[in-house]
């Protein structure tokens, strides 16, 4: 039993931190700009593909820095020449714009890199077993992901809360006219925020592309779960996103690791197998696990619409 719990906690933490890497940029962009970026997962995918292509020339370590920067620059261009023009028409056109952008990026990706997965592999320097727990190997790369995501959280938190730039960014959202009157270029602040958000997604892609599969469908499959994290954590809250990510990771892993069903918990009550609802009663947690995050999403919106740490309603 202890073994199962330890496994679930560690695997859940590792998966959760990877989720955080993908969702932190999204919550940043929403929290600071109010833009719900549907194309976020596409920038995540671009990060993976850029790192794969650059990595074959420069090696992994340089690509680890270059790819997110490239994605960030691309994000800046999208904000400057796309979003900013749409922005004046309100939030719905913005949303539609990012929605369309996601499709464009997906199609372009399969045009450039083909529809077959690309062989994007981890660097040899991280391809070894770091430690072994209950006979289960943990590779150095997994711990590397953990380290990168922790560093990302700390930097982001310090940037927003402790620096002047962070103050200006936060002020630009609530009091844009005043910030502008003080001589700051508010549109440029927004552009920077969008670029940073995209770069974070790109960074998530650089490691996520190795951990998972780098193929044109990766954006679509990752899209929904990222939104769950952001809503659960509270729109715009970076610490919230962190907690939500870990929560989802651990919960999902736990549900997969233990065999429980309503029937086994309430073993005193006897429900006939012929009953129409007996499917739910006898459903094992392992089959429920993949739906859990979405169940959480729905519950959050009903019970606590602003999420765990959010300040605004979703």
């Amino acid at each position: 039993m202890l073994e199962t719990i330890v496994f679930s906690l560690i695997n859940g933490l590792l998966y959760g931190m990877l989720l955080f890497m993908m969702s932190s940029g999204l919550t940043l962009i929403f929290g600071m700009m109010g833009v719900l970026n549907f194309a976020h997962a596409s920038f995540y995918m671009l990060g993976a593909y850029f790192a794969y292509t650059l990595g074959s020339v420069t090696g992994f370590w340089i690509a680890l820095f270059l790819a997110p920067v490239l994605v960030g620059v691309l994000g800046a261009v999208v904000e400057r020449y796309g979003l900013r023009r749409v922005h004046q028409f309100g939030h719905v056109p913005e949303l539609l714009f990012t929605f369309g952008l996601a499709y464009v990026v997906d199609e372009l990706t399969s045009l450039f890199w083909g529809t077959v997965p690309v062989p994007y592999k981890m660097p040899d320097s991280l391809n070894f077993t770091l430690f072994n727990l209950y006979n289960f190997d943990y590779s150095a790369f997994k711990i590397f992901i953990l380290a990168v995501s922790v560093a990302m959280f700390v930097c982001l938190y310090l940037l927003l809360k402790k620096t002047r730039a962070g103050l200006i960014i936060q002020a630009s959202l609530s009091r844009p006219d005043m910030v502008s009157a003080l001589g700051h270029n508010v549109p440029r602040v927004f552009m920077m925020v969008f670029a940073i958000g995209c770069a974070l997604a790109g960074l998530g892609g650089v490691v996520g592309g190795i951990q998972f599969v780098t193929e044109p469908g990766m954006a679509v499959t990752m899209g929904p779960i990222v939104f769950v994290v952001v809503v659960l954590g509270g729109l715009g809250s970076v610490p919230g996103a962190l907690i939500a990510s870990i929560l989802i990771g651990v919960l999902q892993t736990l549900a997969l690791s233990v065999d429980i069903s309503l029937a086994s918990v309430f073993s005193g009550i006897d429900v006939s197998r012929d009953n129409f609802f007996s499917t739910i009663w006898y459903m094992e947690s392992i089959r429920l696990a993949p739906v859990l995050p979405f169940l959480l999403l729905v519950l959050t919106l009903i019970v606590r619409p602003r999420g765990l740490m959010g300040k605004r309603e979703a």
Binding site: N11, Y15, P119, F136, V213, E215, I286, A289
Partner: protein, 417 residues
Amino acid sequence: MTNKKRAGMLAGALIGLSALLAPQGYAAEDPIRIAYIEPLSGAFANVGDAGLKHFRFTAEKINEAGGVLGRKFEIVPMDNKQSASESVQLVQRAADEGIHFITQGNGSNVAGALVEAVDRNNRRNSDNKILYLNYAAVDPALTNDRCSFYHFRFDANSEIKLEALTNYMAKQKDIKKVFLINQDYSHGQFISKTAKEMLKEKRPDIKIVGDVLHPIGQVRDFAPYVARIKQSGADSVITGNWGNDLSLLVRAADSAGLDVKFYTYYGGGLGTPAAVGDRGEGKLLQITEWQSNAKVNETHPEYEKWLNEFKRRYPDIDWYYHRVYNEMYMLKAAIEKAGSTDVDAVAKALEGMTFDSITGKVTMRAKDHQLIQPMYISVMDSNVVHDVDNSGLGFTTVARIPADQATAPTTCEMKRP
């Protein structure tokens, strides 16, 4: 001239023109058209596109060699968007266009809908019948209780594959504990249920230490599943997973240091070897009707040329569907035997037909229209002549199951016209 008049004249002219262009029966030089009903857009477009290239390539080869009864094969691609209802409409369209042969393979749900649609069409339009050639949908029901005179399957069905696979596993004395992990839909559920029964019968000493169904295409992190496999102490895993569900599973297993053999259906499927990478070497086995290093080519040097020419033309993909070769050449032989493209006559000619394929003799079992053919079990290997997905990895045969052993009984009671 008023606009109305002009429109009327235009319509009249169009009607006249179309009457001129309408087919005047089938002249000898008209191509024999085969509708290729597969996803050509959306998430599975890559699979549909690869299959289309296989069919076009084969048709071209047959045409170059003189065609069929002096006529040429023409492949007509139709996009079904991987939807059963779209596919049913496309059957109607094929009938309207006077196409008598359709082929499809991806998705047994689509195949089931097609069998019904084709049967319905053939009942109602006995002068415009359609023949359905299935090259990949493996649901056993299609050649058992749902079998049809107008459906022919060129891939081994799931039961046959499992029969052959468990026969091989039964001979491996080092297999003690088996774990089953499958996608939670008819295909995976069938494997989960049948593998247990077969192993129990053939090797009662093998323990089934786990049986897990997971949702299809939604699991990103397979680490918890791998942890379960590890805890169960399994030495072998049977899985019908395909695509990313297989790649991610094998990768997660490798990363966790799980040392088991994966017995799969689709380990060599399009894109999977590239995604799995060298982590599958020596661990990933697959059962197929053929694979590019099957070493049967000594007696058929022309097939080696065939493979290489295909690769030169389409560098992104490999010649994968040997069954497309079987399907097209057997259709050609059937049309020649029937002397026409009359669907009933061609179907009768195909029934029970024996064809000398690259892998040996293959027979279209008359009772249920299931092709009985030799099967190959192969393991991923980097030391091969033909790699797949340009990954440097290919497959090496570990066992060849002769056609008479790669078979399963059928309950089909076919209604014949």
